[in-house]
Amino acid sequence: MNSLVIEAEGLMKRYGSQIVVDSLDLTIAKGEVFGLLGPNGAGKTTTILMLMGMSEPHGGTIRVCGINPVTHPLSVKRKVGYLPEDVGFYDDYSGIDNLVYTARLNGQSPAQARHQAEQLLRRIGLWEDAHKKTGKYSRGMRQRLGLADVLMKSPEVIILDEPTLGIDPTGVRELMELIVKLSRDEGITVLFSSHHLHQVQQVCDRVGLFVGGRLLAQGDIPQLAQSLLNDNLYAIEAAIDHPDEKILSDALMSVNGVMSVERRRDLFHIRTNHDVTAVIAQRVIEAGGALTYLNRVEYGLDEIYCRYFEGGSNHDVN
């Protein structure tokens, strides 16, 4: 886990006067599943294209598997599989023929290519449709075929650009499980971009938050939460029957660690800086209230997402 597969330092890309990627530092270790999370237009695709050597950076250095993709794009493309956003296939070719063509572009012989395509199609569960024309494939099937296509060259790294876009929830879960399984089984490093935080949260070892061309934070989910939400880490939702709301509120506020109490419809929303759920339950009963529901809410990426993506991208972390 200690050798670095992707290293980017001070990466920069401009389109005209607009800076799309701004001094990006990114390191991904071997075998890791890294999620690049950001809203649309954050510069995720641009970053990926630069890693693939398909777009030239205006500053900074990149190393992918120890190779510089700017000067040696072919060597990088030999080792890295890239699934573009909304991938397309030759519609009048069958699924297997599309895969064989990819393999042959990678210099495999037809027999070898066909053999590997068959294996992969079985593995991703598309074997029954292997000889159907890809024009008749559904979106989910196309994405899965895309994954197989990426794996045809036996890559060390796979880069997936919005792989789950436009697939139904079951399809998304299957695809994500497939990706994680591949990474675990074969030690393939995975970098994928998404703006769906739940998917990222489920499968990624580490996540990078990418907003406005800058990487705001990276790390696993608890680390991210810690670095981005210093306090207000916990929240408690409670449904309480009490004759006088004012007295109840005061009683709750007096608990050590409670920062705020708010009533949202039927629920009281209590923010605390550490876990005081038990104390709150006790205090409610002491104050003569009837506690019907109590739930500790842990902050996940949801909150982070709202704060940094929807709350405005010019938000400063520190």
Partner: protein, 345 residues
Amino acid sequence: MLIKQLREPITRIAQCMPGLSPQNKTERFTRHPFWVMVDKEMMDHIRSWRFMILVAIVVLTCLGASYTALLNIAKAVKPGDADEAFLFLNLFTVSDGTLPSFVVFMGFLGPLLGIGMGFDAINSEQSRGTLSRILSQPIHRDYLINAKFVAALMVIALLVFVMGYLVAGAGLIAIGIPPTFEEFMRINLFLMLSVVYIAFWLNLSVLFSIRFRQAATSALSGIAVWLFFNLFYPLMLNIVLKPFTPSAYASPKSIYLFERSRYLLSQLMPNELFNEATSTLLMPTVRSVGPLTMQQVEGALPGPLPLGQSALLVWPQITGLLAATLICFALSYYLFVRREIRGRS
């Protein structure tokens, strides 16, 4: 039993040659990615409906053209004519006015064939979302555009030569006089020139397919350019030059200058270049393509030119067509290699 006996030596020979033996064939057959792409593009062309329609048009044309040529070839030859020696070439050029000759058809439909095969070369890949997937494979970016060009060119060359030889063959059977070696070479040169001419339109439409995202836009622009040179440019040339037309009593020098400039301006039309080059190649009696002064004509004996001289006469036209083709290709190459490819947009 007999068949088995017959097959045995063949299998034995095949086994001696590693490339031919069936067991080894699949294992050893690892082609360079570029040729894999050319293979695929050619296959796509040949299997596509569009190509079949284009071929159907061209085949009908050939049939019509050779039919009229065969009907009228007897009338075209007068005894004692200098052309008599080149009877066979008349197959490609003779017509009675109801249907155009093969040469005219080729000049007219060739561009359509070229445009038809190239107008969606790059933009269809982009809109299908296959472009970025293919370019993320370990191939050089120019392979794609080169492969598309080479494949289309090979298909066109095959088609043109097959058509030409079919017409020649049909004529051979019908008139019973074999072509001389010079006639054969002239026919080959003419077919090669046709391929270059179609390649020009092919490259132009590939250029449009890179420039325009919509296949329909690029097809229309190709056809617009073709129409412009076929219809409007000669018309414009006439309108623009009319006020400068010297009177019949003007000095020979000014008449010569006028004719010369009109000739030069008409050379900008690729179809004019093609027509001049082909008619000179297929009609050995054509001695000049531009205006001549009396001094130049004086003392000239009316007779056919040898092949070398005919070719020399239209060398500028051939070079011009080749140059136009190369310019289009270079432009498309530049545009494509410089472009950033992202997704379908």
